[in-house]
């Protein structure tokens, strides 16, 4: 698979603070769903901001399709037409008065003609299932709704790579479920997605690959194997995912056939109770 985005021996430290990490490298292939996990203050947000060009590394490079990112104005703005970042707090991102105005900001900046802008806005709102909110003022929306508007604002630029910082934080389980479906739909359309989260079960259900960042070190690998490694997870203030743990024990005690997949939600577990219709 082609590598879309790569970090090459990145180092970063905030002014007056010890380095968050140094010499960190990683590669993300086209179409991957990559979950980034780690403890509070582990460096997830910092890594994502470096990947989207929002922070400039002290050393090392970010590469898009093998070409190193430059930090001049034109290079950056070209890069940003392809890589988009969604902040953890939607209030860090929304500034226009209404939903449609805010979502139109990016496409307008591309200099697209008004009809194309309108079409992009509608498509992004449809993707996020918030068409009914089109003309609502952003500051009267609930947290979950604002979060969707922020994602729509990034989608309207049709990025190749979408980077999200803790997209599920503050959402109720149904909202997280809806987001999961949206991310899957985007992945199916070929978008590469990188998202940080504290929710190991969400990561395990959604991601193909995982990256765990803790105390300046990064571990990457298939989500299946990384997110079931208890020792590694504990070391990063995380806990193992429920699904694989339950699947393993159930198989061992004969509650699940050896070749059946792990249950992914508590509802699926309950359906495994003998005497329950599948």
């Amino acid at each position: 698979m082609t590598v879309v985005l790569a970090a090459d021996r990145l180092s970063y430290s905030y002014p007056g603070s010890p380095p968050v990490f140094s010499e960190l490298s990683m590669e993300v292939s086209q179409g991957t769903a990559l979950a980034v996990l780690g403890p509070n203050g582990g460096g997830k947000t910092t890594l994502l901001r470096l990947l989207c060009g929002g922070l400039r590394p002290a050393a090392g490079r970010i590469m898009l399709h093998g070409r190193p990112l430059g930090y001049g104005r034109t290079a950056l703005s070209e890069f940003r037409t392809q890589v988009q970042f969604v902040h953890q707090d939607p209030d860090d991102q929304l500034f226009a008065a209404t939903v449609s105005q805010d979502v139109s900001f990016g496409p307008l900046n591309l200099g697209l003609p008004p009809t194309t802008v309108a079409a992009r806005v509608t498509a992004a709102l449809e993707d996020m299932e918030i068409v009914p909110l089109t003309e609502q003022p952003t500051h009267l929306l609930s947290f979950g709704q604002r979060k969707r508007v922020a994602i729509a604002g990034a989608l309207a630029l049709r990025p190749l790579v979408l980077i999200l910082d803790e997209p599920t934080a503050g959402l109720d389980p149904a909202g997280a479920e809806a987001l999961l479906a949206t991310l899957r739909r985007l992945s199916a359309g070929g978008t590469t997605i990188i998202a940080s989260t504290h929710d190991v079960d969400f990561a395990h259900r959604w991601a193909d690959e995982a990256a765990i960042i803790s105390r300046g070190r990064l571990r990457t690998g298939a989500a299946d194997s990384l997110l079931t490694d208890s020792a590694l997870l504990r070391d990063a203030s995380l806990r193992p995912a429920w699904g694989p743990a339950v699947g393993r024990v159930l198989r061992a005690v004969g509650g699940l056939p050896a070749d059946a997949p792990d249950p992914r939600t508590p509802e699926e577990v309950l359906r495994l109770e003998p005497g329950t219709r599948p």
Binding site: P15, G16, R49, C52, G53, G54, R73, L76, S77, R80, T81, Q84, F85, H87, D89, D91, D92, Q93, F95, A96, A97, F105, G106, L108, N109, L110, G111, H139, G153, A154, L157
Partner: protein
């Protein structure tokens, strides 16, 4: 966050009473302003630099970086001393370079004194102490709230500005205007929303009009206070001695 503020919180002098530090920096400031600029200004500047970087251990890079903005003003302002203007037109000003040199010297020394205080004394240690004085409590409490909301609003504004850049808001002159208008309006909405939310939060904590807090009691006696006026006195003494030596010679 703001570099001077961060340095002030990390300063090894954090536990010194703000009044003692004010005496120290104020003494140096007085000698910078009142002594004859030559040799007073360079002497005071050097002594202040030694006190700041050597004794108070202010990080040198942050110190010099913070001095850049005022120095730009000082240099631009002093350029005007080099020329003279009257009804007959422009001309080089006689003695203009000397005058510019004097003002620049005095200014550099004074800015160093200002930074010495600012980078060792967080506003957090000053404002609540002022708030205890009757008559000033309202002013100091409002200033304290400005300080607190400033950090929250500034952080959000920086985030929005970065997010606007992420969405190509700095591409051209047009997009920059659109970004800054949206941002300025949002700062207004945001600040008032913050006030509303803090009002609710504080009333849940029992706010009835006073924002009094207890401040760490720091001793305003002892060795540090006794030493505080010394750098200013040394700089004054040295300058006066040198001046009189020259006059005598």
């Amino acid at each position: 966050m703001l570099a001077i503020d961060v340095a002030a919180y990390r300063s090894p002098w954090r536990r010194r009473h703000p009044a003692a530090k004010a005496v120290l920096a104020g003494g140096l400031l007085l000698s910078a302003l009142l002594l004859p600029p030559w040799p007073g200004a360079p002497i005071t500047a050097v002594i202040t630099l030694v006190v700041a970087l050597g004794w108070a251990r202010v990080p040198p890079r942050a110190f010099l970086r913070s001095a850049r903005a005022p120095l730009a003003f000082i240099v631009t302002g002093s350029v005007t001393f080099l020329i003279s203007v009257d009804t007959s037109g422009l001309a080089w000003a006689p003695g203009g370079a000397v005058r510019a040199g004097e003002v620049i010297g005095r200014c550099v020394a004074a800015v160093f004194c200002q930074l010495l205080f600012a980078m060792t004394t967080p506003l957090a240690d000053v404002l609540p102490r002022i708030a205890r004085r009757p008559g000033l409590s309202g002013l100091a409490e409002v200033a304290g709230l400005v300080y607190r909301m400033l950090s929250v609003v500034l952080e959000t504004v920086n985030a929005i500005r970065r997010a606007q850049a992420d969405r190509l808001g700095t591409r051209s002159w047009r997009t920059q205007w659109r970004s800054v208008i949206g941002l300025a309006a949002q700062v207004f909405v945001l600040s008032f929303d913050r006030a509303r939310r803090l009002e609710a939060g504080l009333s849940d904590r029992g706010y009835t009009g006073s924002l009094a807090v207890s401040v760490e009691s720091l001793p305003l006696t002892g060795r540090f206070l006794a030493l505080a006026p010394l750098p200013g006195l040394v700089s004054a003494g040295l300058t006066l001695a040198l001046t009189s030596a020259c006059t005598v010679a």
